[in-house]
Symmetry: C2
Subunit: 329 residues, 2 copies
């Protein structure tokens, strides 16, 4: 089968489309014939983390398709089922951290940028009927991350005010959609006027320049919750917008890992900071129920043929997208 494979040299130079062996599902596993796949920032990191001496690896965490083989002992999943893939491996219940052995599909195990993928049967779920194949293929990792960040960690409730700095990423657009659906007021920032405009069309209550004066933009209004995935460039600006007792949830640091935190301001503000990553199987199911109830569809930036993986990865690396980038398999 055809697949996007990383081997040897770190980075995009080590990537190529190759023929790989079609695997058989073992006990408890299923094989999915993929129709679409989705790109995540993680796929860029994987190209660095996967070592030159490691065996060839099919990258990719997100995908959707049709079950075409079922291993021994699998119940509740049948050949022909239309499914989405939950890339959270070995983390079933909603706990405060993943258990030992937790991995994300696409490193160290073969991922979804391929005609077929073999995965545990607990990691497939019926494709939501309101989603197209393109939408289903780009859903999982970002939507699950957004869901855990907002609801499990951020404890978002109707009427709360949420600030989302950096609205470009796939996760950020889910955050905006989910928070609006939950009845929150949502404020977003971006360095791009075009992305601000798009966010307003998606329902954001305010959208303003990341480099501007946030306090002025918010008219001095404080927020209950900030979902912070930018990092050093915005972290302390984010903290300044919090009401006393407010919460920051952080899961990304593309603009710098290390921040200066003033503990005294933090504890006088009775602030809360929660680190989060992707979520558990339990949260994945809750997320699917949530998007079905609210008929939420992923915002798609662009869908490429799998062979054009370089164009897609470059678009993401240069932060040109608003919403998700996907592939036709």
């Amino acid at each position: 089968m055809k697949a996007v494979v990383h081997v040897g040299q770190a980075g995009m130079e080590g990537l190529s489309v190759r023929e790989m062996e079609v695997l058989q599902p073992k006990a408890g596993e299923v094989r999915v014939k993929l129709k679409t796949a989705g790109l995540n920032h993680r796929d860029l990191f994987v190209l660095v983390r996967h070592k030159p001496t490691d065996p060839p690896l099919i990258i990719g965490s997100d995908g959707a398709g049709v079950v075409d083989a079922v291993g021994e002992g699998v119940t509740g999943v049948l050949v022909g089922d239309e499914v989405v893939i939950n890339p959270s491996l070995g983390w079933l219940e909603k706990t405060d951290a993943p258990p030992e052995g937790f991995e994300i599909l696409g490193l160290p195990f073969h991922g979804t940028f391929a005609e077929q993928v073999v995965i545990s049967a607990v990691n497939v779920a019926p494709k939501p009927e309101h989603l197209s194949w393109e939408e289903a293929g780009v859903l999982s990792l970002a939507a699950l991350t957004a869901y855990r960040a907002l609801f499990t960690q951020g404890q978002l409730r109707e009427g709360m005010k949420v600030l989302i700095p950096g609205i470009g990423s796939g996760v950020a657009t889910f955050l905006l959609q989910f928070a609006k659906a939950a009845g929150a007021a949502v404020y977003v920032t971006s360095r791009s006027a075009e992305k601000c405009q798009k966010a307003l069309e998606l329902g954001a209550d305010k959208a303003f320049d990341s480099n501007g004066d946030w306090e002025q933009e918010l008219g001095g209004e404080k927020v209950d919750l900030v979902i912070e995935c930018v990092g050093a460039a915005t972290f302390n600006k984010s903290l300044k917008q919090l009401r006393p007792g407010g919460t920051v949830v952080t899961f990304g640091a593309s603009a710098g890992d290390v921040v200066e935190l003033n503990l005294r301001d933090f504890f006088y503000g009775q602030f809360r900071l929660f680190g989060t990553t992707m979520g558990s199987g339990e949260e994945y199911k809750e997320m699917l129920d949530f998007i079905t109830k609210h008929q939420i569809k992923p915002v798609i930036d662009s869908i490429y043929p799998l062979e054009q993986y370089k164009e897609a990865l470059n678009r993401m690396e240069n932060a040109q997208q608003l919403g998700k980038i996907g592939f036709y398999i």
Copy 2:
């Protein structure tokens, strides 16, 4: 009446024992004739925050005594009642942050280093019977801070492992006693071998040098909760001892306000950081019930005559104490 009053010059130079007017309780207030009072770090900060141009101020947040006058409309408090004073003014319910107008007794309102204090009737509670006057006088601010940090914010439960860096302060000794009473394993650090020894006598499971190698001291064991009141000197060492999904509660930064926080380590660890201060009236009542149920008594470092306030303040400023410093009025 006699009182320790700050006026004019910032710092201890502005302090003296003076005659002050005895006030009458207004509607909803009571007057307490104090038997004992307690010293807190806050009293040192107050000497700087209270401006030379402000009117003279009686300092002090903690105290215990006998009600000697009751204002109009007060129910449930009678002249002759033996009471402890809750210095948390205007914060009644257990919320994520204090409401507007919250103040701590002793700035801007006259405090407890005096023969009498006038205070809202909701800020006195029956003196726990198992406490001496000395113990009751030094209880409130530190025990309430420790209670909120451990239980409201840290969500401490039986069987958890708790690390308390810097065991010298009054709050830290309450943290140790409360956490042990709740069935946790408690590890503490101090730069003083004597304080480590005292902590072991108070029930700490491990006590080791703050300047040592914590990972080695803990044998690689990770903790569920760190209560961090030291600040920059220990903050990142504290984070390193946390299990994935673990919590740090911070309420002090005597050894530096600003820390470098690595966001990526923080969110991959799914860590949680809670800022906290003193607590609400609701938490004060819970704390009194808790110490009564477990028959917990404050660890007393020393009790001075009120006239020796300088010796007492110096002892605290030089971090010589283990446990609470108090005054006979």
